[in-house]
């Protein structure tokens, strides 16, 4: 194995390969950072460029784009509170508030370093335990997938800062929106109203861009003529030492990073669930395990570490079923499967035997991409921060045009741009109504998985619901889901010490704010939501 690894590194360390991978990582970072452009789009648009390259160089370029784009999403998630990709949704929860506190550089540094760590840990998993992990993932059927989806959906309430009712409503609304299109199993068109474009349902990209990017532009428009104005973003330290955080902070986050990496790898392996889900799950788990859960949503590096480690750990996770079984774990690896097949490579168990050198070249390309990502983002950190000097009234319209380009690029349809506008209005309405948007996204992502596997599972068990309870893995997940609901209901009606601390914090915050001063939107959502729940009479 070491011989093959050494040969792989010799292949990718050739000057032209290093340049190609560096270019791929840089382009990937740009695609990840611009809301509306995603890793899938980066890999798909650059796929034709690999035709003229050899298999190793071509796949290395695609791998570099994947690594760069997955990590690049953190830039806009932190600086603009707009996730660059679905995999950086949870990064906005704490990255945005950290930026508003003037600690944007620290948030970016933490995100970059733990993106790197997540990628490296997932590559280690890919190299050492890929075949056995893939076999376990492959043994999962509809019952298990349904149970996992239900369990993940029950975590929505954890994301419901403030009113649990509104949080659950948001998750259900996301699930309901995902039911538009051709129904699974019996292929009946639902809620399409004769519109052909709706047959495939809404794309996650248009929903995400609308709910976050367009809604942000509308929010800025609302404040444009007020006394506070929009101006430029919060001041951020322009001189940054290293990555902007201390060694103590780094070592303090290691357990969180390892836990989040494991979540990212495990979710990444499962076909159909990708980094878009794992970053939110890792965030929720980090919040539950934290000694200071009340700080989540107000700007803690724990949240950024969890999200960024998990989403980058999904890279290796998604590559495991692709290389070992020939099954793409997510949309990016589906395009990469096409890239492999263009070069006459058939992924699967035999790939490690017949094309061992190529496989280890891909592993080496992943490692090199991760290192180059760290270097490019380290030096880019200073440039990213300077972006904040651009006034929002200039920056956001340009981003919105890029979002429109991204939406158009999905299927060359103007319809998708209309969709982002509609979801933008919905996102703005959610903000005005105090309804959190994160549960909507997780409901939208996990809804189809839950419904499809419910229908398939029932077909397998002849319409008998007990099939979900007699299957041990499915039963275990459903039991944990039931316990999770019970615990959250119990916690909602019993004020905890943490809640009391939060209420005290909010009171101090309210008293300290001069009248008319704008409260950061993310902080408003969380802290004011908690204030609201405190005001609600409890039994």
């Amino acid at each position: 194995m070491l011989d093959l690894f050494a040969q792989g590194f010799i292949n990718v360390l050739a000057p032209e390969s290093v340049l190609l991978i560096a270019a791929g990582v840089a382009v990937g970072i740009v695609f990840g950072a611009v809301p509306g452009l995603t890793a899938v789009m980066a890999v798909a648009l650059c796929l034709p460029m690999t035709y003229g390259l050899g298999p190793a160089a071509g796949i290395s370029l695609l791998v570099a784009l994947f690594v760069g784009a997955t990590s690049g999403g953190l830039i806009s998630a932190i600086l603009l509170k707009i996730p660059g990709t679905p995999s950086s949704v949870a990064t906005t929860f704490d990255g945005g508030p950290l930026m508003e506190k003037g600690e944007g550089a620290k948030a970016l540094g933490v995100g970059i370093v733990f993106s790197f760590i997540g990628t490296i840990l997932s590559i280690a998993a890919l190299v050492f335990i890929a075949p056995s992990l893939a076999r376990v993932a492959l043994s999962f059927g509809p019952h298990e997938y349904f149970a996992i989806a239900v369990f993940s959906l029950t975590l929505i309430a954890t994301l419901s800062t403030g009113s649990m009712v509104k949080g659950i409503f948001s998750g259900i609304a996301g699930f309901a929106v995902s039911t538009v299109g051709i129904a699974p199993v019996d292929a009946i068109p639902r809620f399409t109203f004769g519109t052909v474009e709706l047959n495939a349902g809404f794309s996650i990209l248009t929903v995400l861009v609308g709910m976050f990017a367009v809604a942000e532009v509308i929010k800025v428009a609302e404040q444009a003529h007020s006394s506070s104005g929009v101006g430029v973003s919060a001041p951020v330290k322009s001189k940054v030492r290293g990555f902007g955080f201390t060694l103590k902070e780094f070592f303090g986050q290691i357990p969180n990073a390892i836990r989040s990496a494991v979540i990212g790898i495990c979710i990444g392996i499962l076909p159909g669930i990708g980094a878009g889900t794992s970053n939110i799950i890792a965030y929720i788990v980090a919040k539950k395990r934290s000694k200071t859960p009340e700080q989540f949503g107000k700007g803690t590096i724990e949240g950024v570490v969890a999200s960024e480690t998990a989403n980058n750990a999904g890279i290796g996770g998604a590559m495991i079923p692709l290389l070992t079984l020939g099954i793409p774990g997510d949309a990016v690896t589906a395009v990469m499967l096409g890239g492999l097949m263009i070069h006459g490579i058939q992924p699967g168990p035999m790939l490690f035997i017949t094309q061992g050198e190529l496989v280890y070249t891909i592993f080496a390309a992943l490692v090199l991409s991760a290192v180059l990502m760290l270097i490019l983002e380290f030096y880019g950190l200073r440039i990213f921060i300077r972006l904040l000097a651009i006034p929002k009234h200039i920056l956001l319209p340009v981003i919105l045009v890029l979002c429109a380009v991204g939406a158009f690029g999905l299927a060359s349809r103007i319809f998708d741009i209309w969709t982002i506008l509609i979801f933008g209005v919905l996102g703005y309405a959610f903000v005005k109504g105090g309804i959190p948007t994160a549960p909507f996204i997780i409901g939208f992502i996990l809804g189809p998985m839950a419904e499809t596997n419910l229908r398939r599972g029932l077909m397998l068990s002849g319409g008998d619901f007990t099939g979900f309870l007699t299957n041990p893995i499915s039963a275990a997940f459903l039991a944990v889901a039931a316990l999770s609901i019970a615990w959250q209901v119990y916690a909602a009606f019993r004020p905890t010490a943490a809640q009391e601390r939060t209420d005290a914090f909010n009171e101090e915050r309210m008293e300290g704010k001069p009248d008319g001063q704008e409260i950061p939107a993310a902080a408003t959502r969380s802290s004011l939501g908690e204030a609201e729940s405190a005001a609600t009479p409890r039994p």
Binding site: A176, A221, L396, G434
Partner: protein, 166 residues
């Protein structure tokens, strides 16, 4: 200032209306047994209706006046602002989308960017810099168009400019 209780009740009514609307369109789906294409939408619709009802009841149980030290605008969501630029922004985005095919991306994007810069410019006594905005709008639209059309082969509509393009 909208009173928090009323605002929360309005949110509840809207949630309930959304649930009832979804229930209505679900009832129009063809049925093919107990667990069919309409099963999950029915579950979701009923849950939404229930949540809307809970939200209304919870809001009505609230005290009428906001607690001391808390501004009413901050209770259930973002504080209110000026809705005129919001309406202008929505109209501009809709017009940009509608104009993409007939005008082409470069012209539609340049016009949209220019007007959106003007609309979003803070009214804090500073002059709106029309020439700068015009140059920025044209430059940004051109760079984005060229990058995606020629760099990534994404065939953004060019409208009347199609005949002049290589």
């Amino acid at each position: 200032m909208v009173e928090t209780r009323t605002k929360e009740a309005v949110v509840g009514v809207l949630m309930l209306a959304a649930g009832l609307g979804y229930l209505f369109i679900t009832s129009n789906l063809p049925r093919r047994g107990a667990v069919d294409a309409a099963f999950v939408p029915y579950v979701l619709a009923l849950a939404t209706v229930g949540l809307g009802a809970i939200q209304i009841l919870t809001s009505l149980r609230r005290p009428k006046k906001p607690a001391a030290g808390q501004s009413s605008g901050a209770k259930g969501g973002q504080p209110g602002g000026n809705l005129i630029p919001v309406a202008k922004t929505l109209v501009l985005v809709a017009a940009f989308t509608a104009a993409l095919r007939p005008l082409g991306f470069p012209i539609a994007a340049a016009l949209y960017l220019f007007l959106q810069f003007v609309v979003l410019t803070p009214r804090d006594g500073k002059k709106v810099r029309y020439p700068f905005y015009a140059v920025m709008a044209v430059a940004c639209a051109a760079v984005i168009f060229v990058t995606f059309r020629y760099g990534f082969d994404l065939m953004l509509p060019a409208g009347p400019l199609t005949t002049f393009l290589p």
